[in-house]
Subunit: 353 residues, 2 copies
């Protein structure tokens, strides 16, 4: 049994309160400044409005003002914000966390320096910490195919808890593991975090075919465009593995839950796929963002903007070849330059033996 | 321009007549003894009844009695039967083919000896040939994510032509390549054929979740079971790569069109997924086969019966470990022993670092 404090009360962070609380842990959800209404709702009715479900009785919800007290004596501190909030979370946690606490993050994404050097988000969080505190904190993350609501309603879900220290990830896995939440552990931290970030890049492309069919008035035809989607998925998987290798992870991580499994689930639907659908209809991405999906959080697009942009300087510096990552480069041209949807098939599947 | 004779006029063989004939090749479809009505229909109206489409004007259809003449002067001979007909096709082609002809097969599956040694289908075909003729024939295959109807209606489709000889696969690819049929080439013949066969194994499992939801009356719920499907897909991808390695192919082939791409498209629907759905509902597989899907060709189940059965003797002989291929072993117990649907999650993702 442990005290688990969660900064950010979005759907994923809240979904994790189900297995955690059912295992007898004390779970405390702390809302960010954007989560006031969510926390209000949970405090009054127990219902998380975005998830559309009542959290377990024992789970407590707190407004941000209580964060210091709630986090101070926790054994485990979770970072449950989305990637847009990672810098804010770094500032907060660096002030609120105590030596020896275990951090567990569910935020997915990347940050890159101007020269294209990329960083996984746990390292971004860490950069806000005093070096001594950073050293005494244990850094861990959850990756794998998890649609939050499915976990919350107790459907079988398989994930990987990853981190630098085997004993710590095993301890954390033990707190959450149930008969429906199946948890594996890994110390390929950078590999798993890279897979989790890059899968979002390719999920955006999973929406194209549906939009193209809609535009052509063929969405209810007998023959749709799974061949197109499968080819894009396969090229995405090749690039995902390459990114893991580039970041120093184990490419085999790309075959598992944190790679192809996560890319599969993310390709099945959600906001990024929807945004890709508009592009498939022939709408310039800037218009999708400013009009059709104004104000909607798009983690896939955010990942493309960071990772796709980094490919330029990485190529200039000779770290990667010009012919590598053709799909990610193309997706970057779509979201950053409103490039039309002309899939560069000829550049795919290079080096086939 | 080449003369292309196709033995078997199923939907895949017929779909390939579109790019082939549009490139100016002379395409001759030859029906098997099971295809009499299909050939009749094409001869009278041009329509392939199962595909629901009219073939191109220049494509000619022939009943089996004309096979000898039609095949004798062809440059390329295609084997378009399904895996249940591979032995029959071997007998026919060994008598009808001429030295120097190029064989191109689209049949997917495996055969295994009693000791578990597995063989790709081009090798099964070859075993029927006189050794001298076998040596002078060029052996090739098409793999990759291709729903036949999508190709036939000219939706973008990406595939790999594979074979032992690079010049031959390049020649064949050139005959079929169009602006919607994107063709790569590879000499990893065994790797690609293994991926194409094993992907069918895992597509059967892709139907389970849908059936489980149906049984529970939850198929239209807000939260379905993509997490479950994604975990099964990820374990399937791990095993598919292992099978490629076991057969002497390049494991990286498993990441591309002939591996994960093909598994993706096959998991999106079709007869194997439907059969898996019944199992998901809790119906014993023998009842699915004898009642709900009586007489329906199930390539995935056929692959499970061959490959899953081979795992026993391969384990006994120490060729593979007991903990390898847990999903394939489980699927074999479902189709061969009517085992209930209790997914052995604990056996999955072994050796995670």
């Amino acid at each position: 049994m442990a005290k688990i404090a969660v900064l950010g009360s979005g759907i994923m962070a809240t979904a994790l309160s189900f297995p955690a609380s059912e295992n007898g842990n004390e779970v405390r959800l702390v809302g960010t400044f954007l989560d006031r209404e969510i926390i209000d709702s949970i405090q009054k009715t127990g219902v998380h409005p975005d998830l559309g479900l009542k959290v377990n009785e024992s789970v407590k919800a707190h407004q941000l003002e209580e964060a210091a007290d709630v986090i101070a004596d926790a054994d485990v501190v979770m970072c449950g914000v989305n990637s847009f909030g990672i810098e804010w979370a770094g500032e907060q946690l660096s002030k609120l966390m105590k030596p020896g606490q275990k951090l567990l993050t569910v935020t997915k994404g990347m940050r890159a320096d101007d020269d294209g050097t990329m960083h996984i988000l746990p390292d971004v969080l860490r950069s806000y910490f005093d070096p001594e505190l950073a050293e005494s904190v244990s850094w861990n993350a959850i990756v794998g195919p998890s649609i939050a609501g499915e976990l919350a309603v107790h459907h079988d879900t398989c994930v990987v808890f990853c981190g630098q220290n085997e004993a710590d990830v095993e301890y954390l896995a033990g707190l959450f593991r149930t008969d429906y939440y199946h948890v594996w552990t890994s110390t390929d931290f950078v590999g798993h975090e890279t897979g989790a970030a890059t899968k979002n890049v390719y999920a955006f492309a999973a929406g194209f075919a549906q939009g193209m069919l809609r535009k052509a008035g063929k969405e209810n035809d007998r023959y749709v465009m799974y061949n197109y989607g499968a080819a894009v998925f396969a090229q995405g998987q090749k690039e995902l593995r390459s990114f893991i290798k580039l970041m120093g992870g184990d490419p085999e991580t790309g075959d598992g839950l944190g790679g192809v499994g996560d890319m599969f689930v993310t390709s099945m639907g959600g906001r990024n796929v929807k945004a890709g659908g508009y592009v498939g209809e022939g709408i310039a991405f800037s218009e999708v963002q400013d009009r059709y999906m104004k104000g909607v959080t798009l983690e896939g697009v955010a990942a493309i903007k960071v990772i796709g942009k980094a490919l330029g300087p990485l190529t200039e510096r000779g770290v990667i070849g010009e012919d590598e990552y053709p799909l990610c480069r193309f997706l970057y041209s779509v979201v950053a330059e409103d490039a039309p949807l002309e899939m560069p098939w000829d550049k795919f599947f290079q080096g086939l033996k």
